[in-house]
C-alpha cells in the first residue's frame, strides 16, 4: 500500500476527514463572530461563553425538562440569542460610539462573569451529554469508522454557513447590515430602524455560537471553559479569513481544520501554534486577510 512519510494512505484519508469535521465546526463558530464583528464592529469576547451556554442550555433542557437533542438544536440558540439581545439592549448599546476596545473589554468582562457563574454552579469537570439515539453508531468507510454524529455535524455546519452567507451577501438585509457597520446614523436617517437591526444581529451572532455549542455538546464534555479554550482559534480563523468576510471565515475555518489535522499527524506538538504561524504569514502578505477588503 502507498505510504507517505510513514502514514498509510488510508490513515491519511481518515485524518483528512477528521480535519474536515473540525474545520466545519470552526466555520460555524467563526461565522457568528464574523457576523458580529463585521456588522457591529464588536470584538465579541463573549462568543466563547455563548457557545458554552448553548451546550449548557441543551444539557439543562435534557436533564431538567426532558427536551431532546433535536428540540435543543432550535431552542438553545433561541434562548441564548435572547440573552444576547438582552445584553445588547442593556449594555453593549451604550458603547457603539466608542472605540472597539471598550466593546472588547465589556464582552471580555461578560465572558468572565458567565464562565465564572457556570463554574461556580457546575464545577470544572462539567457534565456529559450523550449522542442522540438516531445518530449512534458509525459508518464503515473502509479506511475508517466515521461516527454518524460527526457526519451530521459536518452537514449541519455547512448548511448553516451557506444560509448565513446567502442572507448577508445576497439580500437587502445584508446590505443594510454592511452599511450599518460604517455609518449607522446615516442609515437610520434613510428610514431603517438601525437599533432594532443591531440588536437582532447580535442576537443572531449569539444564536450561531449557541448552535455550535449544541453541536459540540455530545462530542466534548459540557463544561464552563469549553468556550474560552476554542475562542482564540476561532478568532484567528476570522482574522485570517478577513474580518467581517462571511465567506472568508467559512473557507478559512475548513482549511484550517484540515491543516491542523495534518499537523496533528506529522508534528502534533505544533498543532496549537500552526494556526498562529499561518495567521502571521497571511497578515504580513495580505494585510486584510484572505478575503478581506483593504480600505
Amino acid at each position: 500500500m502507498f505510504e507517505w512519510l510513514g502514514i498509510s494512505q488510508q490513515a491519511l484519508f481518515g485524518q483528512l476527514l477528521v480535519g474536515l469535521i473540525n474545520g466545519a465546526f470552526y466555520a460555524t463558530l467563526s461565522l457568528g463572530l464574523a457576523v458580529i464583528f463585521g456588522l457591529l464592529n464588536i470584538v465579541n469576547f463573549a462568543h466563547g461563553a455563548q457557545y458554552m451556554m448553548g451546550a449548557f442550555v441543551a444539557w439543562m433542557g435534557l436533564n431538567y425538562l426532558g427536551i431532546d437533542y433535536w428540540w435543543s438544536l432550535i431552542l438553545a440558540p433561541l434562548a441564548v440569542g435572547l440573552v444576547g439581545i438582552l445584553l445588547e439592549l442593556t449594555l453593549l448599546r451604550r458603547l457603539y460610539k466608542l472605540d472597539h476596545l471598550y466593546g472588547l473589554l465589556l464582552t471580555f468582562g461578560l465572558a468572565l462573569i458567565i464562565e465564572g457563574g457556570f463554574r461556580q454552579a457546575y464545577g470544572i469537570s462539567g457534565e456529559r451529554y450523550d449522542i442522540p439515539e438516531a445518530l449512534n453508531g458509525a459508518f464503515n468507510l473502509g479506511f475508517m469508522f466515521l461516527p454518524k454524529y460527526r457526519g451530521w455535524v459536518v452537514a449541519a455546519s455547512l448548511i448553516v454557513c451557506l444560509l448565513t452567507w446567502l442572507v448577508i451577501e445576497r439580500t437587502k438585509l445584508g446590505a443594510y447590515l454592511r452599511a450599518g457597520t460604517e455609518n449607522p446614523k446615516l442609515l437610520q436617517a434613510f428610514g431603517v430602524n438601525v437599533p432594532v437591526m443591531v440588536t437582532l444581529t447580535y442576537g443572531l451572532g449569539a444564536a450561531l455560537a449557541a448552535f455550535g455549542g449544541v453541536l459540540a455538546a455530545p462530542i466534548f464534555q459540557v463544561n464552563a471553559v469549553m468556550g474560552s479554550n476554542i475562542l482564540i482559534i476561532v478568532f484567528a480563523v476570522v482574522v485570517i479569513g478577513g474580518l467581517g468576510s462571511i465567506i472568508g471565515s467559512i473557507v478559512t475555518g475548513i482549511a484550517l481544520g484540515l491543516i491542523e489535522g495534518l499537523t496533528k499527524v506529522f508534528y502534533p506538538e505544533g498543532s496549537s501554534v500552526v494556526i498562529f504561524v499561518i495567521m502571521a504569514i497571511v497578515l504580513i502578505v495580505r494585510p486584510a486577510g484572505l478575503f478581506g477588503k483593504e480600505k
Partner: protein, 307 residues
C-alpha cells in the same frame, strides 16, 4: 502652572515610593511596581501611538526567562542579567515591529498576538525554560557585586529605582519632539506622511522602546520572584496588561501605574474566593467600561479639572 503640578506629582510619587514599604508588604509592592512598569511601557504604545499590541507578554516573558537563565546558569550579576533581558526585549521588539508596523488596528493586534504565540511555543519547547515548571530558584545575587539583594527591603529599593527610571523615561518620550510626532500620527496618519514624516519609522521606534521597557519589567520581575514561568509569556498576560492600562486610564501618565496596582491587589486579596474571583473581575471590567471609561486616573483628573 501645569509644569508645577507635574513636578509636584513626581515628588509625591517618589516620596510615596520611599515610605511605602514601611506601611505595605514590600513583596506586594515589588510585584505592583514590576507590573506598573510593564503597563506604562504598554501604554506608551497604546496611549500615545494608538497601536494596540496583543503580544506584549512575549517581551515581558522572554526577557524574564533569558535574564533568569543567564543569572542562574551563567552566574552573571543581576544588573547585567536585567540588561540582557532588556536587550532581548528590544531585539524582539524590532522583529515584531518590522513585521507588524505596516498593519493597523485589529490586524496589528492579531499579528502581534500571532508572533507572541510563536514565542510562547518556543518557550514551551525549549528545554532551558523548564516547560510548565518554569525556571525556578533564580538567585538574586549581589547588585554591582556589592549590595546583597536577598534582603527584601534592599530589593524593594532596587525595584523602585528601576521603575522610576523607566517611568521618567516614558514621560520624557511622551513629552519630547518625538512624542509630538507620535501624537500627530495617531491623529491622522496620511497627513503626517504628507508632511514628510516616515510614520512607519516613528511607530517602529515607539514599538521597540515599548518592547524594551517591557523586557526590563519582565527581567526585574524574574529577579524579584526568582521565577520565570509560562504565565509570563502566555497570551493572558498580554490581555492582563491591556486591562491594567484600561482600568487605570489609557493615555494618562499615572493611569497604568494605578491600573497595575488595582489589578494586582484584586488578584492578591480575592484569591480565596475561587470562581467568584472570575465573576468579580468580570463585574469590575463591565463597571469600568460603563462607568469609568477613561480609567480611574482619567476620570479622577476629569473631575479635578472640572472643578
Amino acid at each position: 502652572m501645569t509644569f508645577d503640578r507635574t513636578r509636584l506629582g513626581f515628588i509625591a510619587l517618589v516620596a510615596a515610593g520611599l515610605v511605602a514599604p514601611y506601611l505595605i508588604y514590600p513583596v506586594f509592592l515589588m510585584k505592583g511596581l514590576c507590573f506598573a512598569l510593564f503597563a506604562c511601557a504598554f501604554n506608551l504604545l497604546l496611549g500615545y501611538t494608538g497601536l494596540l499590541s496583543f503580544g506584549h507578554a512575549a517581551f515581558f516573558g522572554s526577557a524574564a526567562y533569558l535574564s533568569g537563565h543567564v543569572i542562574k546558569e551563567l552566574g552573571v550579576p543581576p544588573e547585567v542579567g536585567i540588561l540582557i533581558g532588556t536587550l532581548l526585549g528590544l531585539g524582539l521588539g524590532l522583529i515584531f515591529g518590522s513585521l507588524a508596523i505596516r498593519r493597523q488596528g485589529i490586524y496589528f493586534a492579531m499579528i502581534t498576538l500571532a508572533l507572541a504565540q510563536m514565542v510562547f511555543f518556543l518557550c514551551l519547547q525549549i528545554k532551558e525554560t523548564g516547560g510548565e515548571d518554569g525556571l525556578q530558584g533564580i538567585p538574586r545575587g549581589r547588585l554591582f557585586g556589592a549590595i546583597d539583594l536577598s534582603d527584601t527591603l534592599t530589593m524593594y529599593y532596587f525595584v523602585l529605582a528601576v521603575f522610576l527610571i523607566g517611568f521618567f523615561f516614558i514621560y520624557r518620550v511622551v513629552h519630547s519632539p518625538f512624542g509630538q510626532v507620535l501624537k500627530a500620527i495617531r491623529e491622522n496618519e496620511p497627513r503626517a506622511i504628507s508632511l514628510g514624516y516616515d510614520t512607519d519609522r516613528f511607530k517602529l521606534i515607539a514599538f521597540v522602546l515599548s518592547a524594551g521597557l517591557s523586557g526590563l519589567a519582565g527581567a526585574t520581575k524574574a529577579l524579584v520572584f526568582q521565577l520565570a514561568s509560562l504565565t509570563d509569556v502566555h497570551w493572558q498576560m498580554s490581555g492582563e496588561v491591556v486591562l491594567m492600562a484600561l482600568v487605570g486610564g489609557v493615555g494618562t501618565i499615572y493611569g497604568p501605574l494605578a491600573g497595575a496596582f488595582i489589578i494586582v491587589t484584586m488578584q492578591n486579596y480575592l484569591s480565596g474566593f475561587g470562581s467568584w474571583v472570575t465573576i468579580i473581575m468580570g463585574c469590575v471590567f463591565v463597571a469600568c467600561v460603563l462607568l469609568f471609561r477613561k480609567g480611574v486616573v482619567g476620570e479622577l483628573s476629569g473631575l479635578l479639572t472640572r472643578r
